[in-house]
C-alpha cells in the first residue's frame, strides 16, 4: 500500500489566524482504500488542517497533491471537483430545507428548462437513504425535524452520492447512539472496500482505533507522528496525544 502513489499527499501545510499558527508545517498522506484516523485534543489543529483540504480555508504555505498532481483548492467547489467530500462536525445542513434539497445543495438537478427538478431529486434521495437508513421516511420535512442519526445520514448521503474518492469525516459519531455508531462504522468499512480514501477526525481514540489503518496525531498545530494501527497500542497513541512525544516503536 505504501509503495503505490498516494491518493492525497499534503506537504508542509501551514496556516495562521491573527498571528497564531493554527497548523504548522504538517504533512500527511492518504492512500486509496485506506482509513487514516487523525487524532488530537480539541484545538490541536485537526479540523483546521483538514479544512485546507476540503477548501474551507486557504493555506499560507504547503502543497496538496492528488494522484501525484499538484492542485490548488480555493473553495469547497474546487475540492468537490477533485472528488473530495466532507462531512463536517456540525453536519453543515440547512435546517429549513428538506433532505433532498440538502443532499443536492450546490449541485441541484434541473429540468430541461433550467428549473429545479425537485421530483427527480427526491427520487434519488429516496434511493440513497434506503441504503443508509431504511427506516427514513421524513422526505418532506425540513431536516430540523429529524433526529441526530437521521441528520447524520443526510450529511453522509450528501458526501457519498456524488462518487467521492476522498472522504473527510469530522467527529462522525460524536452525536450518535451506539446503534447508529455501529451503522456508521459498517458504512466506513464498506466505502473502504470500494477504494475510497477516508480521513476520520476525532478527539476520542476509541472512535477510530478499530476502524483506522493508520493513526496520525496532532498537538498544538504540529504533527506528532503517524503509526500503523496494528503496530501501536491505545496507550501508546494516548501518550502521543497527551504528551506530544513519539513512543519508541518499529
Amino acid at each position: 500500500m505504501s509503495a503505490a502513489q498516494p491518493l492525497v499527499a499534503m506537504r508542509g501545510m501551514s496556516i495562521s489566524f491573527g498571528g497564531i499558527r493554527a497548523v504548522d508545517d504538517v504533512s500527511l498522506d492518504l492512500h486509496a482504500g485506506e482509513v487514516v484516523g487523525l487524532l488530537g485534543h480539541n484545538g490541536a489543529g485537526k479540523s483546521t488542517f483538514i479544512k485546507m483540504l476540503s477548501g474551507a480555508y486557504h493555506p499560507d504555505a504547503g502543497e496538496i497533491r492528488i494522484d501525484g498532481q499538484a492542485v490548488t483548492i480555493n473553495s469547497p467547489r474546487d475540492a468537490r471537483r477533485h472528488g473530495i467530500e466532507t462531512i463536517y462536525q456540525t453536519l453543515a445542513l440547512a435546517d429549513n430545507l428538506d433532505a433532498a434539497a440538502n443532499l443536492f445543495l450546490g449541485r441541484e438537478l434541473r429540468t430541461a428548462w433550467g428549473t429545479l427538478d425537485d421530483v427527480a431529486m427526491e427520487a434519488e434521495t429516496r434511493q440513497v437513504m434506503a441504503r443508509l437508513n431504511p427506516h427514513f421516511v421524513k422526505f418532506k420535512e425540513p431536516v430540523r425535524a429529524l433526529s441526530g442519526g437521521q441528520r447524520q445520514a443526510v450529511a453522509i448521503a450528501r458526501a457519498i452520492h456524488f462518487n467521492a474518492r476522498i472522504l473527510i469525516m469530522d467527529e462522525p459519531t460524536a452525536a450518535l447512539g451506539p446503534q447508529e455508531t455501529k451503522q456508521v462504522a459498517d458504512l466506513i468499512l464498506q466505502l473502504k472496500r470500494e477504494g475510497i480514501g477516508i480521513f476520520l477526525i476525532s478527539h476520542d481514540i476509541h472512535d477510530v482505533f478499530d476502524l483506522a489503518d493508520r493513526v496520525a496525531v496532532m498537538k498544538n498545530g504540529k504533527m506528532v507522528g503517524t503509526a500503523p494501527t496494528h503496530a501501536v497500542t491505545k496507550d501508546q497513541v494516548l501518550e502521543m496525544i497527551i504528551l506530544g512525544t513519539r513512543p519508541s516503536i518499529q
Partner: protein
C-alpha cells in the same frame, strides 16, 4: 392567514354598516395595496436571506422622481409629448436606476461586509435626499397618459371581457399545474394525494379566481365616463343608463405578476434555493459551494427592481412624482412581510403570505377610514395588530414544530 383576512373583512364590514364589502371598495383596496404588495414580494427574499431593507420607501421616492422627470421633461424634448414610447422608456429608466441602487446596496453588504441594516438605513436618508435634489423639491406632474394606466383608475382597468380572459387563463393554469404535478409524481412512483383532495384544492383556487373576476366586473365605471366611451365607440346609450364594468385594475395585475415571478424564482430556480439555504445556515451554504455573496447581491438587485415597479404604480396613481413619495413604506412593506409569516431570523417565508399580509394591513387601514376612526387611532391599531399577529404566528409555529419532533 386567509382566515384572519376573512375575519377582518367581515368584522369591518359589519362595523362600517356594510360599506366595506362592496365591489367599489374592494376594487380600490386592491389598487391601494398593489405598490406595497410588489415591494413585499422582494422583501420576503431579503428577510429570508437574513437581511433587511429599510430603504425601499426612499428608493421608491427617488425612482419615482427619475421616472417623472424622464417622461415630463427629458423625453418630450427629444420625441415630443405624444410619443407612444415615452412610458416604456421612463419605466425602463426607473428600473435601471432601481437595479443600480440595489446593486450598490448589495455590493456594500456582501463584499464590504457592512450590515444590511446600516447600509439601507443610510440608503433611507441618502435616497430621500436624492429624490428632493433631482428637482429641488418641486413636484413633477402630470404623467404621460399611457404611463398612468399602470396606476389604475378609469383608464387603468382592462374591462370586463379581458378580465374574463385573464380569469379563464388563471383557471386553466391551476388545473394544468395540478395535473402536471400529479403525473410527474406518478412517473417516479411517489405516493399520491387522493383525487378528491386534489379536486378540492384546485376547486378552491378556481373559486377564488372566479370571485375576483366577478367583483372586478361588478364595479361599474362612473356614468359620465361610460357615456364618453360609448360615444367614442359609436354606441347608442340606452335610456336606463349604461353599465360598463372596470374589470381588473392594471396595477393589481402587475402586483400579481410580480408575485408569480418572485414565487417562481424562490421555489423553482437555483437562485431561490440558495437564498433559502443561505437564510437557513449561511455556513452550510458556503461549504456546499454556494457563492453566497453573489446571491446576496442578486437579492438586493431584485429588491431594487421591484421598488422601481412599485414606484411606477405609485407615481402613475398619483399622476405626479413628489419627493415625499413612499415615506414610511419600508415599515408597511416589512410589516406586511412579517405578518405574512416570514421569519425575521431568516430561512422561512412565502411570497403569497407577504402579499396577503399587505392586503391585511391595507384592509385594516381602509376599514378604519370607512368606520371614521381618527388617524392617530388608526396608527395605534395597526401597530398593535402587527405585534399581536407576529406573536400569534410564533405560538402557532412553536406548537406545530413540537408536534413534528
Amino acid at each position: 392567514m386567509l382566515a384572519a383576512l376573512a375575519l377582518i373583512w367581515v368584522g369591518v364590514d359589519i362595523l362600517s354598516g356594510g360599506a366595506f364589502l362592496t365591489p367599489r371598495n374592494l376594487w380600490n383596496l386592491s389598487v391601494q395595496t398593489a405598490s406595497v404588495m410588489v415591494m413585499a414580494t422582494g422583501m420576503v427574499l431579503v428577510i429570508v436571506a437574513r437581511h433587511i431593507d429599510l430603504s425601499v420607501g426612499s428608493v421608491l421616492g427617488v425612482v419615482g422622481m427619475v421616472m417623472g422627470v424622464t417622461q415630463t421633461e427629458f423625453l418630450p424634448r427629444l420625441m415630443g409629448y405624444d410619443s407612444p414610447f415615452i412610458w416604456v422608456l421612463a419605466l425602463g429608466a426607473g428600473v435601471a436606476v432601481g437595479a443600480a441602487i440595489g446593486l450598490l446596496h448589495g455590493v456594500i453588504i456582501a463584499y464590504l461586509g457592512v450590515p444590511a441594516f446600516i447600509v439601507t438605513l443610510g440608503g433611507l436618508l441618502v435616497w430621500r435626499g436624492c429624490a428632493w435634489w433631482i428637482t429641488s423639491g418641486r413636484t413633477v406632474a402630470p404623467m404621460d397618459d399611457a404611463f398612468r394606466r399602470m396606476g389604475g383608475g378609469v383608464e387603468g382597468a382592462i374591462g370586463s371581457s379581458w378580465t374574463w380572459v385573464v380569469g379563464v387563463l388563471a383557471v386553466a393554469a391551476i388545473v394544468w399545474r395540478a395535473l402536471h404535478a400529479r403525473r410527474r409524481r406518478q412517473q417516479v412512483g411517489f405516493a399520491l394525494r387522493p383525487v378528491w383532495a386534489e379536486v378540492v384544492v384546485a376547486g378552491l383556487a378556481c373559486a377564488g379566481v372566479l370571485a375576483v373576476v366577478l367583483v372586478a366586473n361588478s364595479y361599474d365605471l362612473p356614468p359620465r365616463v361610460a357615456e364618453r366611451i360609448a360615444a367614442a365607440r359609436g354606441l347608442v346609450v340606452p335610456p336606463e343608463g349604461l353599465s360598463i364594468a372596470h374589470g381588473l385594475a392594471v396595477p393589481v395585475l402587475i402586483a400579481v405578476g410580480a408575485g408569480i415571478v418572485v414565487t417562481f424564482l424562490a421555489r423553482r430556480t437555483r437562485f431561490g434555493r440558495y437564498v433559502f439555504a443561505l437564510g437557513g445556515n449561511p455556513e452550510a451554504a458556503e461549504l456546499s459551494g454556494v457563492d453566497t455573496r453573489r446571491i446576496t447581491v442578486l437579492v438586493f438587485v431584485l429588491m431594487g427592481v421591484l421598488c422601481a415597479v412599485a414606484a411606477a404604480i405609485s407615481t402613475a396613481r398619483l399622476n405626479a412624482a413628489t419627493n415625499a413619495q413612499g415615506t414610511l413604506d419600508e415599515l408597511y412593506v416589512i410589516a406586511a412581510t412579517v405578518i405574512g409569516g416570514t421569519s425575521l431570523s431568516g430561512g422561512l417565508g412565502t411570497v403569497a403570505g407577504a402579499m396577503l399580509g399587505a392586503l391585511v394591513m391595507q384592509s385594516l387601514q381602509s376599514g378604519m377610514v370607512l368606520m371614521g376612526l381618527d388617524t392617530p387611532l388608526q396608527n395605534i391599531v395597526v401597530g398593535l395588530v402587527l405585534v399581536v399577529a407576529v406573536w400569534l404566528d410564533r405560538l402557532y409555529r412553536s406548537r406545530t414544530l413540537k408536534g413534528a419532533a
